[in-house]
């Protein structure tokens, strides 16, 4: 079997192992889960270490999958998988826009920071700190700024606010990765370009950019994953309809009556992340020559 096929097989075994673990625990685990330090009579006390095994808290895996193909809310509504997929696609689109903005902004930052050491010293610490700011803080800010713009004539749909917030999470890995890549050429190569009296732009195009590719590709992948997270969280924060984030919250709220339903959008969100990362990985396929000597993320 080729190495590729081997990797896929082991991956499938891994997923099956997780499923088996789930069902095994459900079958063997205590009905009320494992609780430490509970006090009699006080509901909700103590620390729950392992979950309850009833069908409400832990549905069977086949029930979760099967639920996807049952109708969404009874009657003649389409199977759950339909709204899940359409919500996931919507979120994917918004995340893609956010990713694009983040990549451009991050790359411009990296170019500036590589060109001027002072810019790197001044800006990079703030870029690192910026990632400790929870984006929940920004969501209402961006949303209200967006609606202000919208009212004053510049079209600004609600999803654009979500995309901007997603771009905030996406730009960081690109800025850092692109900077590292632009700074990566050996001193010997940089001096070679100097002996050719090549200025900043030819050196950038013929040396630094190609050398940056192996650092950029993992960064772009990370940015895509971050853009997806940002889009999902921002959707909930701003209250955007039609995305997968909102669906997650909605269906989780129905946890007591329809426990398996919440797993639908969860699987959808997982698939979303995988598709986003996979699409970006495709970019790397055409750039094989530039990846001779690739650096892992």
């Amino acid at each position: 079997m080729s190495r590729r096929a081997q990797a896929w097989t082991w991956g499938a075994v891994g997923v099956l192992a997780v499923v088996a673990l789930w069902e095994l625990y459900k079958w063997l685990g205590p009905a009320d889960g494992v609780v430490v330090g509970a006090e009699d009579g006080r509901a909700g006390s103590g620390v729950i270490l392992l979950p309850r095994t009833n069908d409400r808290a832990m549905p069977h895996v086949w029930v979760m999958v099967g639920r996807l193909f049952e109708s969404t809310s009874g009657g003649s509504t389409p199977p759950l998988i339909v709204p899940v997929v359409s919500a996931a696609v919507l979120t994917l689109g918004v995340a893609a826009v956010g990713w694009l903005i983040g990549v451009v902004v991050g790359f411009v930052f990296a170019l500036v920071m590589q060109r001027w050491r002072l810019a790197e010293w001044g800006i990079l610490p703030w870029i690192v700190v910026s990632q400790t700011v929870p984006l929940i803080a920004f969501a209402p800010l961006v949303a209200s700024f967006g609606s202000q713009l919208d009212r004053s004539g510049v079209p600004w749909p609600q999803w654009l606010s979500v995309a901007v917030i997603a771009s905030y999470l996406a730009f960081f890995p690109v800025a850092v990765g692109a900077l590292r890549g632009l700074q990566s050429p050996d001193r010997a190569h940089v001096e070679l370009m100097r002996t050719y009296a090549a200025g900043y732009w030819p050196t950038l195009v013929k040396l630094r950019l190609p050398a940056a590719v192996p650092h950029l590709l993992p960064a772009l992948r990370l940015a895509a994953a971050n853009a997806v997270v940002g889009a999902v969280v921002a959707e909930v924060s701003i209250g955007m309809r039609g995305g997968i984030g909102r669906m997650l919250i909605q269906l989780a709220g129905q946890g007591s009556s329809d426990p398996a339903a919440a797993w639908g959008p969860t699987f959808g969100a997982v698939a979303l992340g995988l598709v986003a990362a996979g699409s970006v990985a495709l970019i790397g396929v055409g750039l094989k020559n530039y990846r001779r000597g690739e650096v892992a993320a």
Binding site: A188, E191, T195, P202, L207, N289
Partner: protein, 265 residues
Amino acid sequence: MTDETIAVRAAGVGKVFPTKAGEVVALTGVDLEVAAGEFVSLIGPSGCGKSTLLRLIADLDEATSGTLSVFGKTAHQARLDQDYGIAFQQAGLLPWRTVGANIALPLELHGVGKADREARIAELVDLVGLTDFVDRHPDQLSGGMQQRVAIARALAERPRLLLMDEPFGALDEMTREYLQSELARIAAETGAAVVFVTHSIPEAVFLSDRVVVMSPRPGRITDILPVDFGDARVEGLRESPEYFERVTAVREALHGAPVERPNER
């Protein structure tokens, strides 16, 4: 002699590096003239300043004292006018470019048209004997082949001066000897002046018209020895008594004292 017949003229050149532990005098009082078409080696132990001197000629560093001119201009102007080609110890090939594209790099940077580039690449790969490898990538080549590409690249714009910093240092002895013969042939064919840094005595004697012996602390020239083999730089030379005599002369100059041979005691 007009300035056009002097490739490199150094008068009282010195270089001082400021370090945390005080100043390091890498070079002091260097007086050297390299004529057009002449092959000159710089040889000496670590810290003698030979690579520093080469870097000053290449305008990769600036001298702190004295004057240095390349073809009658400042080193800075000579670099901007692309009067020299350079080869380092690591071949320094860009890994994402093919052999042909690597050789063409200086040509691309200086706006040479595609047809002219292709023609020049073909000439150069033929010169270094790598015609079959022109579309390979550096990671598919051995160390010796990579260095040949680097030499071809250094010759791309027909420079009148070649600067080489221990280009064969990372190669095994047999490849070294082969490349030395190739380099001697190429230098003779193109008529370029060469300043060649090495720490191998046989290599310096085989290749050069003159061997410049340097020593450290502070870096300076201690001796300049003529080596008159002219056109006879072929493999047979390595076995001749005259060659050994010159090697001994250089070795003695490096040690600063005559070397005692066992059968002369």
